[in-house]
Symmetry: C2
Subunit: 409 residues, 2 copies
């Protein structure tokens, strides 16, 4: 008999954003005259830049001619792209990361979800609460958690993020092996200082643990002292993997390209304590379960890492940071508390009148036709919080904030 | 301590095609004056068709304008593509498959590798020997096999394919739950009749088993009585999933687009025998670990499923089938036995003089500068066999066959 992976039965409800989409669809069907503004899923709205379009067009043209046609791409990405990433994202900023430590993929979601496969099911994971659901759900599916009780999975070490610790969690109180960190954070919008990240690197070294560092929002960091990469921290190359993405940086959510940095010297261990190269292990995984990113898309991505491309990126991020400012100023006026919205596209607001996250979701949808994401969907510490994103057309953001005044609370 | 997934340590050597590539690279470095012809990995060489290029260009243009810009694609693919696939691949051929039973992805390799995640680690798998390595390795990584002994993994039910059974294996001699079949077959080039597939469908129904049917090469089937889809078999919609790909059909190996068909009524079971929808389960998996296929690529793929696109596909496949004919005629002249090469891009030859697969690989590379794939890389029944593919430029194929005369055996 063909039996279901019993771990899937532990999953709670549907994937958060699918659930939000379902509610929005229902509302729209019943209220066809209302124009809904979406500040929910964090999807970009600005078109691809001129240079990226130029690169994509070149890629398409190459695929149409026998002389320049490309078959299977390398599992780890084309050298032309990996070399430019190494130069622009790291070397030019004084961080020693080489092209062969960069693994190109279709998305940071895919990579952060798949990466746990490399580790034994017995490794103890630490994740923040609230958290980007993919880190947790991918581990649930893999059988790394026990059953779900009172809003949490047994077997997971949760790192509470709350007002008291300024949404930057304390070090674990028990020994953990695999630590998921994300800064600038999704969903809280909080950033980390170098001193703060150094504590984590030291913890990982002392415990032979591994940090999976999600830097998908690094392009939003504008303050000079805030690190964009975990590799700015001394010793991080021995204990950390970093995930980066063009989704938010260059508007690639619908175009699909990301990359993961695995330092050459990074090792993990077998039962006998023998070391294994983590980069080789990931390549083995990718060679078996993945066939590389479309040549066309990599040609477009290449253009992000040119002088002109970098200027375009900055301009688009400026646009979204302006949106964030409009939102945070509006919230301040309404007397609503929040974190984030600076060096980050996310605004994490405390619901007024102690409304639950989903109560606020429905209120915002019904009263203002504005969609956001219920904080509790990111974990039990998110109850009473709500995530807005700065991704949207400026006029829509202005209108959404204007409509917020109509909230009947 | 961060521990390795111990199942990865069971994997044998590197991924087959990566190993072949390494040998070829070494040879080329030592013999820089030799022009190597690759009939190994099965990568297409003909450029994308005009209509596909048109679709891709349109997709790129849409991404450059705010009004037509696309963010995150649906996890299951855009309706515009799924509807055309349902019409052209199935409905127009009298097979009742609907758009919402079609799940678009970046590759059949990805889907066939990932699909096993949905099932309990205890399910008994049946795979052919020889086999496309991805089916086996993905199950090894998931811990569904014991250790490797005498060329085989304990815990797997191997279905021997040999001259005696005309490379179409007999039904299992023990009860199995998950069956991987591929017709036209990679690597043997063998096809299946309807009567033959009906036996498998009946077996699956009787045993509540599931068939994963890889139809990546269906476009090569030209004989009317040979089924292109498992869904041409009565009852298959209750027991089978089908994987299809544009890689070989429309030259998409470097462009990346495939699709998997999961009939709506297909169910799997939990420990209590309760039924679960397989399609919903796959969508939950994709929503958590995947973010859809690039809009641009789906716009290109859409054009494959137009009248003009279908004519272009036929023309390109004709080109490769002509290559196959050149190869099989050449082998016949040299007195080398083979299967496949008809209704299939693969030619599975028996090595002359009882050479081992790798001996023949090195001889062919050293004497003729031609690359093929050692049959033993696909399983122990492949020892003494060798795979050539019809993917290549016609002139190269003619020259490769000409060079075969120089084999020093």
């Amino acid at each position: 008999m063909i039996k279901i992976n019993r771990n899937y039965l532990k999953l709670q409800g549907s994937y958060l954003f699918a659930e939000v989409a379902r509610h929005v669809k229902e509302f729209q069907e019943l209220n066809q005259d209302k124009r809904i503004i979406r500040l929910g899923i964090g999807d970009v709205t600005e078109p691809l830049s001129q240079n990226v379009i130029k690169g994509l067009n070149e890629g398409v043209a190459h695929m149409g001619k026998r002389e320049t046609f490309q078959g299977y791409p390398p599992y780890e990405g084309f050298a032309f792209l990996r070399e430019k990433i190494a130069e622009i994202d790291f070397k030019s900023k004084g961080i020693n990361i080489c092209a062969d430590e960069i693994y190109v993929s279709t998305g940071a979601k895919e990579d952060t979800a798949n990466f746990q496969e490399l580790f034994d099911t017995s490794v103890k994971i630490a994740i923040t609460d609230p958290v980007y659901p993919v880190y947790l759900d991918s581990n649930v599916m893999a059988g790394r958690t026990a059953s779900f009780k009172n809003g949490r999975f047994d077997g997971v070490h949760y790192l509470n993020c709350n007002e008291e610790n300024n949404f930057t969690p304390d070090l674990p109180t028990e020994k953990v092996d695999l630590i998921y960190l994300c800064f600038p954070n999704n969903p809280t919008g909080q950033v980390a200082t170098k001193e703060y990240l150094k504590k984590w690197v030291d913890y990982a070294k002392a415990n032979k643990a591994l940090i999976l560092f999600d830097a998908a929002y690094e392009a939003f960091v504008r303050e000079k002292d805030i690190p964009k990469s975990i590799f700015e921290i001394e010793g991080a190359k021995e204990v950390a993997v970093e995930f980066r993405s063009l989704s938010k940086t260059a508007g690639f959510t619908g175009t699909r390209c990301a990359y993961t940095i695995i330092p050459k010297d990074l090792k993990i261990y077998d039962d006998d304590g023998k070391e294994h190269s983590l980069g080789s292990l990931w390549l083995r995984r990718q060679a078996t379960k993945f066939n590389g990113v479309s040549y066309i898309i990599q040609k477009g991505a290449e253009q992000v890492f040119t002088k002109e491309g970098q200027e375009e990126v900055k301009k688009t991020i400026d646009y979204y940071l302006d949106n964030a400012k409009i939102i945070t100023e509006g919230l301040t006026k309404l007397g609503i508390k929040y974190s984030g919205g600076k060096n980050s596209p996310y605004i994490w607001l405390k619901t007024p009148k102690k409304l639950s996250s989903w109560e606020f979701f429905h209120k915002l949808l019904n009263d203002c036709y504005v969609v956001g994401t219920p904080g509790v969907g990111f974990g039990s510490c998110g109850e009473g919080y709500f995530r807005l994103t700065a991704f949207g057309k400026k006029d829509d953001v202005i209108e959404a904030i204007d409509r917020l005044g109509k909230l009947k609370i």
